[in-house]
Amino acid sequence: MPRLPHIQKVLLIGSGPIQIGQAAEFDFSGSQACRALREEGVEVVLVNSNPATIQTDPEMADVIYVEPLKADIIAKIIEKEKPDGILSGMGGQTGLNLTAELAEMGALAGVEILGTPLEAIYRGEDREKFRTLMEEIYEPVPRSMILNHIDQIDEALAQVGLPAIIRPAYTLGGAGGGVAHSPEEMRRIVEVGLQRSRIHQVLIEESVLGWQEIEFEVMRDSANTCLIVCGMENVDAMGIHTGESVVVAPILTLRDDEFQLLRCAAIKIIRALDVQGGCNIQFAYRNGDYRVIEVNPRVSRSSALASKATGYPIARVAAKIAIGLRLDEITNSVTGSTPASFEPAIDYVVVKVPRWPFDKFRRADRTLTTAMKSTGEVMAIGRTVEEAFMKAMRSLDTDISSHSSPNEIRMVLSSPTDERFACLFDAFRTGFSVAEVAELTHILPFFLKKIENIVKMEEVLKSGAASDTIRKAKRLGFSTEEIARLTGRSVDEVEAVAGLPTYKMVDTCAAEFPANTPYFYSTWEDTCEIVPQDHEKVLILGSGPIRIGQGIEFDYCTVHAVMALREEGVEVHIVNNNPETVSTDFDTSDRLFFEPMQLEDVVNILRKDHYAGVMVQFGGQNSVNLAMPLEKRLAELGLATRILGTSPDAMDMAEDRDRFSGILEDLGIPTPPNSAAYSETEARAIAESIGYPVLVRPSYVLGGRAMEIVYDEVELESYMKEAVRVSRQHPVLIDSFLQDAVEIDVDAVCDGEEVLIGGIMEHIEEAGVHSGDSACVIPPQSLSDSVIGRVRDYTVRLALAIGTAGLINIQYAVKDDVVYVLEANPRASRTVPFVSKATGIPLAKVAAKTMLGRKLKDLGYVEKEIRHVAIKEVLLPFNKLPGVDTVLGPEMKSTGEVMGIDYGFGRAFYKACIAADNELPLEGNVFISVTDEQKEEIVPIARKLADHGLALYGTSGTVEALTRAGIATNLVRKVQEGSPNVIDMMRRGEVNLIVNTPAGKKSRQDHYEIMRATMDYGIPYITTMQGARAAAMAIDDITTQEITIEPLRHYHDNS
């Protein structure tokens, strides 16, 4: 059947900000869907609150709204745009939930739900409906019980037993779930789970802990044709969320009859759900017995992985099916000749390993459970399991601490944390047997044996370096550098024996058909499938796994650089290892390498073909760090490939404190007093002379702890002892900390002659909060023309002096009318997409073109004066990470961002807050607790809130201050003083906003507990005075002005 003729215009809902459990995969899927729909002549209306997405680019959809993903707002968009259909399954659970909400509120009259029908949304998420459906079609599910109230817990214990798994309904990545081994544990998890669930419902079910976890990605079209795109097997057994598990594809350990048993079940299920599109189905499997665990009737992180693992573009095909096309009417874009109605056959092993943020959150509970905690993942491809494991480990880019004590190893293996995968290697290094490890971990011996093989090879390499051994090690995935280290030979010697890797193609069909896809991975085989071509190419380094501090923004920049180069007619290749992203979609670039991004991996690619240049400035810190070694290695090898854009030396000039200070001095640009300390004594002296508080950071980081503000000598000493190893090579950097200064971020592009200022962003939070965690606004709201003039002037002069070619981000602090430069980074920053979306200038694209030598004056972009206000607000992961300190500081903690855009600060801030799931109340109760120094400052803010009819609550000190100022405030006890306190109020659902600034050390405990409860009960909160002021302003504005619902183009055209 050709596509449905009456569907001319489709609304696509994105997934909003990056958060734990919902990462870049939905930008990838949504972007693919947009392209697929537009190919069929369908007009696409897209709504997403996340500016750092490719799908919100003007090229991607016909009409784009960057608005909060809330049903009432989307209802207004529907009213305005009148789409014929809504594609529900592309924005993750957020998209499905919103579709359900819109339908429930009657906003979908005349709008057809495409892809995932409403009933499937309910049946996928509502546990009871899911269970009923499974029983109807005779598919086994674990024994279970639904709880709507904590009183039912005894019944649950009797009916289901222990251990039991608890899952809240309608949450992302299973947030708030867990495994209970005791009645107390069950009570605690259920309590939190009920709160987190959108419908206050949790499921308690039979534990299938230790069973194998198997996943299928299934497709179905309107003609009822079904196929399995990919079967995936979790290396970690049931009990660990699949997003937290090491996963392999295809399924490696099931016999064909076992595989077919589950395949049949999967097809039966997608038919029963009546999904037209893609669906993810998870099974627990043990000895011929299985349980259906979960069904996601939409694209997901797993479907992104499956797409990258097989080359089958699930989202693209799902979108086409949703508008009526049949699988056999859609072409397999990989072969270009066969239809999409087939099951991919692959001829390699794919491994996915999650990336956790615990390097940033030392105090977080690192245990892996059925709730997600990871922020991202890497994927590696090899021709052996060992090779794929090793490549995945290399791609992770994280400090892996090794364990050598058997007791500690036993502990990590039996109660899994993020360290477990690496610890498996340690176990074999310390002499554990496969059987022992299998018993501790429930991991199948098949996989353990592969790890043991790797460890055995390490031993062999240590004892000698026969040519044959080196080649074998290569096939097991050892890098040349690792082999050199283990054998004691030089990298060049090892390479002389091993040679260079071959590159094989990912083609969906195991070479049965010729493929056009330029999608490659390296391996050590006989034949290489890359045929070098004379014309010049450029390689762009991607950003790897999503982690805190290196998020989707860098993938956005990478993709833009690719688009820019293609516009310029340059052949452009990408290397990256993150399966969730748009950049690793095989048709984003002219050639995709799915590879680790260590020096060796990158250089090997450059040696296989003729590359004019390589771009490192878009991929974030990692790829920037490669600049210097890459330049050196290229010179050693005599390759003509150049590092395009800002030279590594210029990057170093900005990075190196002494060189940078030198430039600033020459230019006469102020910077806070700073110095480097090479010993503890020196550090004390420097801090003394600069004056406390000081900002300290190591040049060498131990265990992920980095920047801190220290207020006195005692704190400095403990910092020096705990956090850093100070030495001649690794000094500690000490900066004067400008308290209460206003921070500014500037993103600009420089072509060596001219500088284009993309945007000047004023931070809403005070200096000291990491710029990545601070809300910020374009244009600046509180800065004088003179300050802005100086910021412009400094930006231009500094960018030119450093020798920037491409992007530069400069951070400033303004205090007492002095503009200080804090740092300058000549590379893509995480604010580039926000600036681009706020102003309409495609900054990363412009930068990429200047890196090819184009001049700004020819490209025709000028700094924009905008009439609207755009605010970036961040998303913090505290509700997903129990135990984490919620105080914002110089260490970045946020996972993602949203943009609020409107014609006034208040309305834009209000939108940004809603979009970040921190909805400001227009009625109800506000709890305020601030430090003594802030008591005066809070008065006008509190007055504004009270004037709008909000009831105020506070603890003794705050209440006293406010009452004295004539503002009626109700008293509650401090948490330490017992009931009735604010936590009791929260539990009863009586608090609508918490304003709680981090106190001095003494009452930290109170703050900590309040914040924890805030997270658990999902109550909006504000932790800074500036945030509170902005919130009051927003509440003030919103009661008198309507928010604007207009597409992005409307703002850009009006500037």
């Binding site: 079904c226 196929l227 295809p250 399924i251 099931l254 064909d256 395949r263 692959i346 021709r383």
Partner: protein, 351 residues
């Protein structure tokens, strides 16, 4: 142990041998199925062929005898990238090959061999285990007779007729190299099966008074199944005739249609097939010959088509009550979605 795979085009690859020492020579064919390696190796249709798996890891779950499609490995040899030496809970493939005299080679770039096959068509090859003399291997490969000249069916067909009793309809099965699951699928429906060797005479079949004739899969060129073609001709229009794989081809030949050797065939468990005007199925396939649909007589209808290359995947004749398919509804290995529609339909249609 050394091993070498020689190709008739002059290339050879040296690898690690496993299983028995010795040599074999025949067509080198590849299958893209990712599991079910023992089902494939024991499939009698692979007789006379060296079977290469495109999936690089073979033997992960060991040797699952319960899923064998015949009592022993029928492929002449096996080419893999890596064979697993430590499967859980089952004997490993290496020891099984050793004990049962099967030849295997691992450590070769199977993907590159697959591409070579795709580009040049199925290659004649030889596999020598215990030696790595490439030139000799190439020579052996060049001496391999074309598969069209080989009598492979007689190597895998039963030699004596036998009966598998059932309470239902009587079906005469001509065994050209039957897979176990074909029997199981027919039995599951209650059929009373009389299984005959490939060279059976018409009167021998007649003795059991069959209500239907069933033609199985089998190795090599279908034109070599002369007796079977002859039997079909005699039964055409008298009782329903059904067939799978080679059964499809011999039925077409009985109608006077032509078969041809494909460039490299269809082998795998992901082949999309469309029933005329209807449903699409993912099927298991293993064939190097195909029916030329254009040569079928007018009263025959192409019932199934391969969506990848448009080749014939089954035909039917309403007038003569013939239904045959090129793919494998009995699965094992591979998707089971055509098992029920196909076997239910043919069994129901038997009067």
């Amino acid at each position: 142990m050394k091993a070498v795979l020689g190709l008739a085009d002059g290339e050879y690859c040296v690898g690690e041998g496993f299983g028995a020492e010795g040599s074999c020579a025949g067509e080198l064919v590849f299958t893209t199925q990712m599991a079910g390696y023992m089902e494939a190796l024991t499939d009698p249709s692979y007789a006379g062929q060296i079977l290469m798996f495109t999936y690089p890891l073979v033997g992960n779950y060991g040797v699952d005898e319960q899923n064998f499609q015949s009592p022993s490995v029928k492929a002449m040899g096996c080419v893999v990238r890596e064979v697993c030496g430590y499967p859980a809970g089952a004997p490993d493939m290496k020891s099984y090959f050793e004990d049962h005299g099967v030849f295997g080679i691992s450590g070769v770039d199977t993907r590159s061999l697959t591409i070579r096959t795709r580009l040049h068509g199925t290659l004649r090859a030889s596999l020598i285990v215990g030696d790595d003399n490439g030139d000799h291997a190439v020579e052996c490969a060049r001496n391999v007779q074309p598969i069209t000249d080989l009598d492979l069916i007689s190597q895998v067909s039963c030699t004596q007729p036998y009966r598998i009793e059932g309470k239902g309809k009587r079906i005469a099965v001509i065994d050209l190299g039957i897979k176990k699951n074909m029997i199981l699928s027919l039995r599951r429906r209650g059929a009373d099966l009389y299984v005959f060797p490939h060279d059976v005479r018409h009167d021998e079949i007649e003795a059991c008074k069959p209500q239907a004739l069933f033609l199985t899969n089998g190795p090599g060129d279908p034109r070599n199944a002369r007796a079977a073609i002859d039997c079909i001709k005699r039964y055409l229009g008298r009782i329903p005739i059904y067939g799978i794989c080679m059964g499809n081809q011999v039925a077409a030949l009985a109608f006077g249609a032509e078969t041809y050797k494909m460039k490299f065939g269809h082998r795998g468990s992901n082949q999309p097939v469309r029933r005329k005007g209807g449903q699409i199925y993912i099927t298991t396939q293993n064939h190097g010959f195909a029916v030329d649909g254009d040569t079928l007589p007018e009263d025959c209808e192409i019932a199934f088509t391969n969506l990848n290359d448009g080749s014939l995947e089954g035909f039917s004749s309403r007038y003569h009550d013939v239904i045959t398919v090129q793919f494998h509804p009995e699965a094992h290995g591979g998707p089971r979605e055509t098992e029920q529609p196909f076997f239910d339909m043919i069994y129901r249609r038997i009067p």
